[in-house]
């Protein structure tokens, strides 16, 4: 069995077009959430996190004609290209696979007035993946998964397992979702959006903010040549609450199960206790309470918690990848990120939320996510 190393990455979000820009902003506790006025997205203004369209156009023109690719595809192509620049893999080799994680892809194409020059067939997720495959001349058909808000973490777990079992040498994991009227209106109908910037785990939290973005992380059976700062996958698991399709289980049973299996799997590779937890932390009343209960069940009440949705909003299919990348840079730089939006705990059990950028030497991180359909995912990474 091989190790799966994380060798390169990229984040595109409201905070910037590469990982360095994003991490710099997070370390300064600068949020990417703004009040958005855009009637194409919503009749009422809303707090969300939006990628700069002007810069997107300028960046994408370096790659191809922006008129021939959708916003979603532009995110993916720029992000994957940037991650590849920092790796030495041969992407045209059959031993490289792309895994694409998204909840709604090009759903804006359901509106026939949007991007009329783009074929409606691109609303099929396999078709948009094919466009990306053709752009990079990848030999293998991309694996596309759509599993609600845990998609990104599931994609990373799937990639790592394929490398550990030597099915592929390199796996590019790309998670992306864009802001659309389709998704915003849906969450509005759920009364799930906060009227203010979100407050994960806080006693005044009252909903989430939506965001858009893209995260790409490249996993490989070969570590980076520089021995310092290599991060390896230790274990991961996926579970279902089997309780309700749109609300988390009150007992946190499913998330607890995923964390328990992940901890068992990771025991061989983990030298000490988990350094911190990168939470899902959507800032809805139910989600954060459920997570806190699940952490308590695991005996994790004292472990530092970091929630990043106060910076990026909830980026759905991108969230698991973007937040994992940020967590890895926390490990590399010895800096725990502040859970922007959090002031006072508003859950029923003790938790240790990091509320200020904090220097701390940490060796490992647990990433968790939960999503519609009652699904949960957990994964542990560590510095070697």
């Amino acid at each position: 069995m091989k190790n799966a190393y994380f060798i390169a990455d990229n984040i595109i979000s409201s905070l910037g077009f590469n990982t360095a820009e994003n991490i710099a902003a997070i370390e300064k506790q600068i949020s990417g959430i703004t009040l958005i006025y855009n009637v194409q997205l919503s009749a009422q203004s809303f707090y969300g996190s939006q990628v700069n369209s002007e810069r997107l156009k300028n960046e994408f023109q370096k790659h191809a004609d922006p008129n021939e690719f959708t916003r979603f595809e532009q995110f993916c192509i720029i992000s994957i290209s940037d991650a590849l620049k920092n790796s030495k893999i041969d992407i045209t080799n059959r031993n490289t696979l792309l895994i694409l994680s998204t909840t709604k892809g090009n759903i804006e194409l359901l509106n026939e007035n949007r991007l009329p020059e783009i074929s409606r067939e691109r609303v099929f997720l396999w078709k948009t993946a094919e466009e990306i495959q053709n752009y990079f001349k990848l030999k293998n058909t991309p694996l596309v998964l759509s599993n609600a808000c845990i998609s990104g973490v599931v994609a990373i777990i799937t990639a790592a397992r394929l490398i550990e079992r030597e099915k592929y040498k390199n796996v590019i994991v790309c998670g992306a979702d864009i802001l659309t009227k389709f998704v915003i209106s849906g969450f509005q109908s759920f009364l799930a959006l906060s009227s203010l910037p979100c407050k994960p785990f806080d006693k005044n939290r009252n909903g989430l903010n939506l965001g858009e973005g893209c995260g790409t992380v490249i996993l490989s059976s070969e570590p980076n040549q520089c021995p310092v700062n290599n991060i390896v996958y230790c274990g991961g698991s996926i579970s279902n609450d089997a309780s309700h399709i749109s609300g988390p289980s009150r007992t946190g049973e499913g998330l607890y199960l995923a964390m328990k299996k992940t901890a068992e799997q990771s025991r061989k590779k983990l030298k000490d206790e988990i350094g911190f937890i990168s939470v899902h932390g959507t800032a809805t009343p139910f989600n954060d309470e459920m997570e806190a209960i699940a952490f308590k069940k695991m005996g994790y009440s004292q472990i530092p918690l970091v929630g990043l949705k106060g910076y990026f909003g909830h980026t759905l299919g991108a969230a698991g990848v973007i937040e994992t990348i940020a967590a890895m840079h926390s490990l590399k730089r010895g800096i725990l990120h502040a859970t922007v939006g959090f002031e006072n705990s508003g859950v029923s059990v003790p938790i240790n939320v990091i509320s200020k950028t904090t220097e701390k030497k940490i060796n490992s991180c647990l990433k968790v996510a939960s999503g519609f359909g009652g699904c949960n995912a957990a994964a542990i990474f560590a510095k070697i």
Binding site: G105, N111, L125, T141, N147, A148, S189, S239, A242, L257
Partner: protein
């Protein structure tokens, strides 16, 4: 101890016909609407599950197909967390996406429907199956142009050989504009099989492809 993976049971629903292990068990005339057909299949199974009627067509289709295989979920000594589900299709939740889009496309008749929006994710069908049968293990939904036996075989095998899963429900479930096909099978280690029947279908890429797409 090495494991020998087999396909122990399979169900296909297409053109208003339901086949279990290749044998026709229920059918209605081809021209009958899906909604009528699937309700009849529900009653045929003597189900008492009111949530069924709130589901979208993709979830109804997936749930009914799983129902014909559900005795496998009750296998002795198999816990809910030891059952996994890997489903796939080519259109994701597009049928419901289109229906939801209608509730938001007209500014003068703008009433986004939460009960439709909740079904605008393909993994909700796996969620509904998990809820009904108390399945707590790994469940993932993939999208591909056509059923990819190679990838699905790799992922299912990994679940059973390396991830502590004992039984996997896997296959293809697709619904769009009254056209549909659902083809699911149960994969497990041969030692989990209750009784040895004459025919054993080994879990190979070829057999998986034949069962799901044949």
């Amino acid at each position: 101890m090495t494991k020998q993976l087999i396909i122990s049971k399979y169900c296909k629903i297409i053109d208003n016909m339901i086949f279990v292990n290749g044998k026709l068990v229920f059918s209605l005339k081809k021209n009958i609407q899906f909604s009528t057909f699937v309700k009849a299949a529900y009653r045929y199974n003597n189900m008492t599950y009111p949530k069924f009627f709130k589901m979208d067509n993709l979830s109804k289709l997936g749930l009914i197909t799983a129902e014909f295989l559900s005795d496998e979920f009750k296998t002795k000594n198999v816990l809910g967390e030891e059952i996994g589900i890997i489903l796939s299709n080519s259109t994701s939740s597009l049928d419901t996406d289109n229906n939801y889009q209608k509730t938001i496309s007209n500014n003068s008749d703008y009433f986004p429907s939460p009960s439709l929006f909740v079904y605008t994710l393909p993994n909700i069908v796996t969620g509904e199956i998990c809820i009904k049968h108390k399945i707590l293990g790994e469940s993932v939904f993939f999208v591909s142009k056509s059923f990819d036996a190679g990838y699905i075989h790799t992922l299912v095998s990994d679940l059973i050989l390396n991830q502590g899963i004992k039984i996997v429900l896997a296959g293809w479930v697709e619904y769009l504009d009254n056209e549909y096909v659902s083809s699911l099978c149960i994969v497990k280690n041969i030692s989990e099989k209750a009784e040895i029947t004459k025919e054993i279908i080994n879990f190979t890429i070829e057999n998986l492809k034949k069962i799901i797409t044949g």
